[in-house]
């Protein structure tokens, strides 16, 4: 295991930011999800030795984060959320600066590693331009190149795609997955559920400092039900339902049901309606996504949505 944590806890005064979480991460892309203020960054700060845990322990590449800090830093790289590259330096100078900080003294070795890192991140042709002219995606790639020049075993990324456009997001994730395939353990925090679902091997969901859910995204979503919505010409309530299907709503000819397997239950539903001589106008199946898992795990506890009056909103929309 590259990252192993037991009961990792951090208090800020009386406020518990991280509440005794356990983690074990090997060569994979592990995504830590959670709302703002749920303790993601605090967790990463502890694992990267930027903060001392209040209680509990963690081991990175076999080195304890509390007692062997420099050995921990020797085997990992950390790219924080704020995009910080020196804009008055060229791409190559930025990476070379990090190579020096990582203590690569030999000139040839350093040059080789800098070139390799730039090459991997596809920045070689712009390496001698000032980074002032780089796009957001290029700056992020440069930061990854800075982290890679050190050839880390574990790479910590805090919100790697925040503020980037769709194409740049995808390209960053492709680089990340590629690094994993070359043996780097990736620990990433993100708010982007669709990205986490697509690119993370496993995810953990934090809620107010507790790790409330953890697993392979497809396992997590398969525990959730799909939602089937059917519009019919009948206003009479349904008399029966196929096996494994639960009714959510049946009013004004619109039937909404949930099922463990939507793509199998839909034909069953349609056959049943057909038998009863009810005409079907339209039908949709929505398979559960990681976002549904996430919202269920963290609850709809966002202060923003507390003030939202769903009933009132529906009335308003209906009047249009």
């Amino acid at each position: 295991m590259k990252i192993l944590a037991h009961g990792l806890t951090k208090d800020y005064g009386n406020n518990r930011a991280v509440n005794g979480i356990d983690l074990s991460v090997d060569n994979e892309v592990y995504g830590l999800l959670g709302p703002n203020g749920s303790g993601k960054t605090t967790t990463v700060s502890m694992l990267t030795t930027l903060m001392r845990p209040t209680a509990g322990s963690a081991v990175i590449c076999g080195h304890d984060i509390a007692t062997e800090q420099s050995a921990v830093r020797e085997c990992m790289s950390y790219v924080p959320q704020d995009m910080a590259v020196d804009i008055r330096m060229t791409g190559r100078e930025n990476v070379d600066f990090f190579a020096r900080l990582y203590g690569i003294r030999d000139r040839h070795e350093r040059r080789r590693r800098v070139e390799d890192a730039l090459e991997i991140m596809n920045l070689s042709d712009r390496a001698d331009d000032l980074t002032k002219g780089y796009s957001g995606g290029m700056r992020r790639r440069l930061e990854l190149a800075q982290a890679l020049v050190h050839q880390p075993e574990v790479l910590f990324l805090d919100e790697p795609t925040v503020g980037l456009d769709v194409a740049a997001r995808r390209s960053i994730w492709e680089y990340i997955v590629n690094l994993k395939n070359h043996g780097v353990t990736i620990f990433v925090t993100t708010h982007q559920m669709d990205e986490a679902e697509r690119y993370c091997d496993r995810v953990g969901i934090l809620k107010k400092g507790d790790l409330v859910n953890e697993g392979v995204p497809s396992d997590l979503t398969s525990q959730m039900k799909s939602v089937i919505t059917i519009r019919t010409d009948s206003h009479a309530p349904l008399k029966e339902l196929p096996e494994g299907v639960a009714l959510v709503r049946d009013e004004n000819g619109e039937i909404m049901v949930t099922s463990d397997n939507g793509s199998e239950s839909l034909p069953a539903m349609l056959a049943l309606l057909n038998d009863e001589g009810i005409k079907v106008y339209s039908s949709t199946v929505r398979e559960p996504t990681l976002e549904d898992v996430y919202l269920q795990s963290v609850g709809k506890m966002n202060s923003d949505s507390d003030g939202f009056n769903q009933k009132q909103f529906e009335n308003m929309m209906r009047r249009r």
Partner: protein, 242 residues
């Protein structure tokens, strides 16, 4: 040390690519040198330029030290520091690199002032005298850059630090032997000037220029700068270890 030098190298590259920064930090001491050295003295025994040049050199180093104080704070605000802290390099090398850079920058600026002063008529001194002067300016630079960095880390934001900078530099300068000698001062100013660290540096630089070795002032400067570096290191550790 290798890592600290990497930080120095980075800061020098960044600084040298911003011509406005280089010019603006030189403009003030240049103005002082030209106006005070050439215009002010109406009646003075000997070369007034030779009298003010050491004080303007000290002032240059002080201004550089104070303006460099915000540098580490900016690294912290802009997110560079968190990256640096997660690296295997010893954390002290970040601070050491910063103090070295600010001091070196101050000495480079002082050199420019020195050259200008010679061009407009200051006496050329012996190499030993220059060596002594640079040693004094170096210690003073370390003192003021660590003072600036400590205060900036303590205040934590740029506005307050800019206020501190302007609030501190002028009074310190006027309440020292920069422009007038002790025997021309009123008694109250005499005592303030006697306690002012700027006076030590100026007196020592002047003595060095005059060909003597100001052991007392230099020892005081050494003690002051060592204490300030230690204090700064303590503040830095507190600001970075959570």
């Amino acid at each position: 040390m290798y890592r600290a030098l990497a930080y120095v190298r980075r800061d020098i590259i960044r600084w040298s690519r911003a011509p406005m920064n280089v010019l603006s930090t030189l403009a003030m001491p240049c103005a002082w040198l030209l106006f005070m050295g050439l215009v002010m003295p109406v009646e003075w025994d000997g070369n007034y330029l030779d009298y003010v040049t050491p004080s303007i050199l000290v002032m240059t180093v002080m201004t550089a030290g104070l303006s460099g104080g915000s540098s580490l704070m900016f690294d912290k605000m802009l997110g560079y520091l968190n990256k640096f802290l997660a690296m295997p390099a010893p954390r002290e090398s970040i601070l050491a690199g910063k103090i070295m850079f600010i001091t070196i920058r101050g000495l480079l600026q002082a050199t420019v002032i020195l050259v200008i002063s010679i061009l407009i008529g200051a006496t050329i001194l012996s190499p030993l005298a220059y060596l002594e002067m640079y040693l004094i300016l170096f210690m003073f630079g370390v003192f003021f850059s660590s003072l600036g960095t400590t205060v900036a880390l303590y205040l934590g934001n740029h506005d307050s630090y800019a206020a501190f900078q302007s609030f501190v530099s002028m009074p310190l300068y006027f309440a020292s032997t920069a422009l007038v000698s002790y025997d021309m001062m009123p008694t109250w100013l005499f005592w303030i000037a006697k306690l002012n660290p700027l006076s030590y540096a100026i007196d020592a630089t002047r003595a060095a220029a005059a060909g003597s070795f100001p052991l007392m002032e230099m020892s005081i400067l050494l003690v002051l700068s060592v204490c300030m570096v230690l204090l700064c290191g303590r503040k830095f550790r507190k600001a970075t270890m959570k």
